[in-house]
């Protein structure tokens, strides 16, 4: 059988050199997605019908179109309409595309998390003299965050994996590097297995960290 496991070991450090760019895209896109998702989630729960429906349209659109289509739309499409976007590099385009899409998914997660906090919590804040903003920051948000964390973690895991699509815009991250190594050596299986293992390890590490965080946030609610 034509399989050389030692070649995987040889490749691992070469591919691992690109872990920072993979994580950079995932983390920055996640920050954009969380901020935007929070705003969209609050808009979806708002009393104002205009805010509500515009958030719905955003969510519907970005949930529907495939990631690859969105990447091409932003990177290759936008410069045609607005020449300023020709200056945008591929990494930026990818981050924007990932962030905008995952914001749509997070919005629904956050909306549900806000709704899952008992109404009485807000009432207690208001009768205690707090403003709505104070109530959200000090009481509602911390409780909602705990409810939202497991599902939000899944979004981040998807994001880490989705960054592999950035290779289509010419970004060299771990998957693109694996592809190039494969093309050079014709050892496709070893190269792709190597990069698969790296994704696996990254996600094992992240899952461990999330579990720790969940335990920490869970302290007040353990009986």
């Amino acid at each position: 059988m034509n399989f050389h496991p030692e070649y995987i070991l040889e490749l691992l450090p070469t591919i691992a050199k690109y872990i920072p760019i993979t994580l950079f895209m995932a983390v920055v896109a996640m920050i954009i997605a969380v901020v935007l998702g929070m705003v969209l989630g609050l808009m979806r729960n708002s009393d104002n019908p205009l805010l509500r429906s515009s958030a719905s349209v955003y969510i519907s659109f970005f949930r529907a179109i495939p990631m690859l289509v969105q990447l091409f739309l932003i990177y290759y499409g936008l410069p045609q309409l607005f020449p300023i976007f020709t200056k945008m590099d591929a990494v930026t385009a990818a981050i924007i595309a990932f962030g905008f899409k995952q914001a749509a998914f997070l919005a629904e997660i956050f909306r549900a998390a806000f709704l899952s906090v008992d109404r009485g919590q807000m009432e207690a804040c208001l009768t205690g003299g707090m403003t709505r903003v104070q109530a959200y920051r000090r009481i509602i948000l911390p409780q909602a965050a705990r409810n939202a964390l497991p599902a939000t973690g899944n979004i981040f895991i998807s994001l880490i994996k989705e960054t592999s699509l950035a290779f289509t815009l010419g970004v060299v991250e771990i998957f693109a590097e694996a592809k190039m190594q494969a093309a050079e050596s014709f050892r496709f299986f070893e190269a792709y297995l190597a990069v698969a293992l790296i994704y696996w390890v990254l996600i094992i590490i992240y899952s461990y960290l999330q579990e720790r965080l969940e335990k920490y946030l869970d302290r007040p609610y353990r009986t």
Binding site: A124, L126, T127, G128, G129, Q134, R138, I139, P220, T223
Partner: protein, 250 residues
Amino acid sequence: MIKVTNLKKRFNDLEVLKGIDFEIKDREVLSIIGPSGSGKSTLIRCLNFLETPEEGIIEIGSAKLDATKPTRKEIQQLRDQTAMVFQNYNLYRNKTALQNVTESLIVVKKIPKKEAEELGMELLKQVGLVEKRDNYPATLSGGQQQRVSIARALAQRPHAILFDEPTSSLDPELVSEVLQVIKSIAELDTTMIIVTHEMEFAREVSDHVIFMADGYIVEEGTSSEFFNNPQKDRTKQFLRNYYGEKQNRG
């Protein structure tokens, strides 16, 4: 002083409060009793605008508000003058017992943390829960949670404390510890309005009693007048049912 004039509230087609008027003096305890669905909880929740009444004038301490045109500031003032104890306690679930008591002091009244904590400990002592200061609500019994919530209400130093069925979600054996605490506060001349189903407690603790049914005040009077010599048939029947049931059960 608390004065309510012609207070009206409807939920869609259902008129829950059909023009409520009453007045109590400072340091008086008012109990509101009546059958389920009579509007008594809605009434107390209108007093701090957790429910928005359509009409009526509410005066509590230094705050005065016309419900037909309330401003955000007036609502805030009304809430500053009152504190509320809920049926389901509604303690902040992400905060410890002590933090629940100090939260408003630190966030709203901007009292330095250390000073707020000293005050908070005093109040926890008053409700007998000093040793639970670092417990989260999830680890406290219903009665303990309600006592913390009473300490939280006291911390606001409000003009009046509003109790919305404070013992209705408690297991029977936990009711008396909470009623004891409420009584001890009443004895300190705190102005209070209490919506309750506990008649004996209402009789003992109140200066004044209001009996509500179908969105109206049917009868009101001093506690002894009301319980010993009710005037209206509706009231007599309600009290008879209540004590009759008690006897049958006991």
